[in-house]
């Protein structure tokens, strides 16, 4: 795979991404690879927190916003999405997202979890620090499951259940998996340690012959410049199987692009292709139970700590930073939306405050482990207000029916977060900086930070995600529409999907 010229020989900066090394072939283990019970315990807990976000967090959040005659259909779509994706993840999803293939899709080497067992390991962001691979598999499963479930909000109350199922399977396969692979898949921190102590990992990464060559060249290098040149060459070689956007230097801590922009754009496309709900504007479509929505949003906030802090992959200060940012950005965004609504519309509403909080969570997702807390507050303030404007003024002006504001909150919030991550990661602004894993073999070093280049990488990644998801989703909806039709009949929609599709009534009193 050709490495883009973004990598310069003189100043090598390999951005930290969120992904795992290829499982090192058993029974092989990296030099001094260690598994820490604290890390493992934390990751298991984080996984459970993210499950809680979907079941029942997201289901309640969306369910309360829908009309009572459709609430069960929302729950059904979210629950079944989770179940369906779980099966597909183990069948082929994990392999296609997190194994070597090409720059866009992984391979099938781990389909049905081949080669993955309780002894295999997955890398973290620190050298020689691993977690059991199964932990990583289930943690990433929760992300894969919640992403398509987010889109449910865009076609709520007016899409056939069979069409939903087919759409979820194909969208997961062709939009989520490549996004996860492109943004997060990399060789892992230990692959970038070019040193004789690490010979086994180097061989596993670039092959025996190349390993010997590089090590010989490194030993022969006489000064720092020559050494840097060898290391840069080695980095390029080690990055051969990395995701496309990862190699561009784009950073996304917990999935601002992979999850939120991805699902958000698909939601907008869906809302447009599907058309408006029957009776929109004339019949009352107010949320039937905001109490459910509040409970759901609260579960989302709490669970999101697992989503963001768990994406640190270790129980360390980095996880605490991600948790801190998930506190302050969310709080700032909730207040920001609330005050904006108070000023513009005259009332601060509960739904507004919740929406603001979710917008803040979405925006801080790519930045959680990179920004400093003060930067996170600024991020939240911006995300809350901008998403408010989008969900009210812009949406009404354009006139699309995104029932539950998947685009306005997730896509717009995700874009704000993705771009500002490139700014807020700067050490000058309190951020963590980008780690260079190759400069000092065995250590991660904070590289010199180039904000313009970083923001440019972020913009490119955002653009790719939007185009891939947007175009892909549009084609996909059309295909499903031609196959079995997307919408229920008008009578079914009026009667309510709970009765029409599921034969059940939510409230029997």
């Amino acid at each position: 795979m050709k490495i883009p010229s973004l990598f310069r020989r003189s100043v090598w900066a390999l951005p930290a991404g969120l992904a795992m090394a290829a499982a090192l072939p058993a029974p092989f283990a990296a030099a001094a690879a260690t598994i820490n019970k604290g890390d493992t315990a934390w990751m298991l807990l984080a996984t459970i927190l993210v499950i809680l976000m979907t079941l029942p967090g997201l289901a309640l959040f969306y369910g309360g916003l829908a009309r009572s005659k459709n609430v069960l259909s929302i729950f059904m779509q979210v629950f079944i999405c989770f179940s369906l994706i779980s099966v597909l993840w183990f069948a082929y999803g994990y392999s296609v997202a997190f194994s070597n293939g090409n720059a866009f899709f992984g391979g099938f080497s781990k389909a049905m979890l081949a080669g993955v067992d309780i002894t295999t390991m997955a890398a973290t962001f620190s050298k020689e620090t691993y977690v059991p691979e199964l932990v990583y598999v289930v943690f990433q499963l929760t992300f894969a499951a919640i992403t398509p479930a987010l889109i449910v909000g865009a076609f709520a109350e007016r899409m056939k259940f069979s069409a939903v199922l087919i759409f979820l399977v194909i969208w997961f396969t062709f939009s989520y998996l490549p996004a996860a692979h492109m943004v997060w898949w990399w060789a892992g921190p230990d692959a970038y340690t070019l040193s004789p102590d690490n010979i086994d990992v180097v061989k596993a990464t670039v092959g025996e012959q190349a390993a010997a060559d590089f090590l010989a060249k490194l030993a022969a290098a006489t000064d720092e410049v020559a050494k840097a040149a060898v290391l840069a060459d080695y980095s390029a070689a080690a990055s051969a199987y990395n995701g496309w956007l990862f190699n561009w230097g784009a950073i996304d801590f917990a999935g601002g692009s992979v999850v939120h922009i991805n699902a958000g754009v698909a939601g907008l496309v869906c809302a447009i292709v599907l058309g408006k709900r029957v009776g929109l504007g004339k019949e009352p479509m107010a949320p039937h139970n905001l109490v459910l929505t509040v409970i759901g949003a609260s579960l989302l906030w709490v669970g999101w700590f697992g989503f963001n802090a768990g994406s640190n992959l270790e129980a360390s200060g980095g996880a605490a930073l991600a948790m801190t940012n998930s506190f302050v950005a969310t709080a700032a965004a909730a207040m920001s939306w609330m005050f904006a609504e108070w000023i513009v519309k005259g009332h601060p509403s509960v739904l507004g405050a919740l929406s603001g909080a979710v917008a803040g969570l979405v925006a801080v997702t790519p930045a959680a482990g990179y920004a400093g807390p003060m930067g996170a507050i600024v991020l939240g303030l911006i995300a809350g207000s901008v998403c408010f404007i989008f969900c009210t003024t812009v949406k009404n002006a354009i006139g699309y029916d995104d029932s539950l504001d998947v685009f306005g909150v997730h896509c717009i919030g995700g874009i704000i977060g993705a771009i500002l991550t490139g700014v807020l990661v700067s050490p000058g602004l309190g951020g963590t900086g980008i780690t260079d894993y190759v400069l000092k073999p065995g250590e991660g070093v904070i590289a010199e930070f180039a904000m313009r280049a970083q923001v440019l990488s972020q913009l490119k990644a955002v653009a790719v995600t939007i185009l891939w998801s947007g175009i892909g989703s549009a084609i996909l909806y059309k295909v499903v529409d031609l196959l079995i039709g997307l919408r229920p009949t008008v009578e079914q929609e009026r009667e309510g999907l709970d009765i029409a599709a599921h034969g059940e009534r939510a409230y029997n009193y």
């Binding site: 916003l65 479509m285 949320p287 509403s349 739904l351 969900c391 009210t392 009404n396």
Partner: protein, 112 residues
């Protein structure tokens, strides 16, 4: 016998019921309803979507009374149910043909 239907504001229910009890009325049916008269609804705002809610919650009372009592009942409901603001409600009086107590089979006045 008369059948009286009264639509009143929900928070007035207790006062009206007590007044009716004072008159010796022993049976009353209460339903929660929505409605409007000349009172307009209000606007609710959910995240970018404005909804004009035309219907306001009210309470409907239904009671069967002896014709002789009807006027006093109407007066009682009207005085206690009144606030002076729009939306106080209305009282409707219908002639009633028959009443039966299910437990005993009594009819007419004895059933009231």
């Amino acid at each position: 016998m008369k059948y009286i239907i009264a639509i009143i504001k929900p928070f007035k229910l207790e006062e009206v019921r007590e007044a009716l009890g004072g008159l010796g009325i022993q049976g009353i049916t209460v339903t929660e309803v929505k409605g409007h008269g000349r009172q307009r609804g209000h606007t609710e705002f959910y995240r970018g979507a404005e909804y004009t809610v035309s219907f306001v919650p009210k309470v409907k009372l239904e009671l069967a009374v002896d014709s002789a009592m009807a006027d006093r009942v109407i007066e009682a409901i009207q005085t206690t149910g009144q606030t002076g603001q729009i939306g106080d409600g209305k009282i409707f009086v219908l002639p009633m043909e028959q009443a039966v107590r299910i437990r005993t089979g009594e009819t007419g006045q004895a059933a009231l």
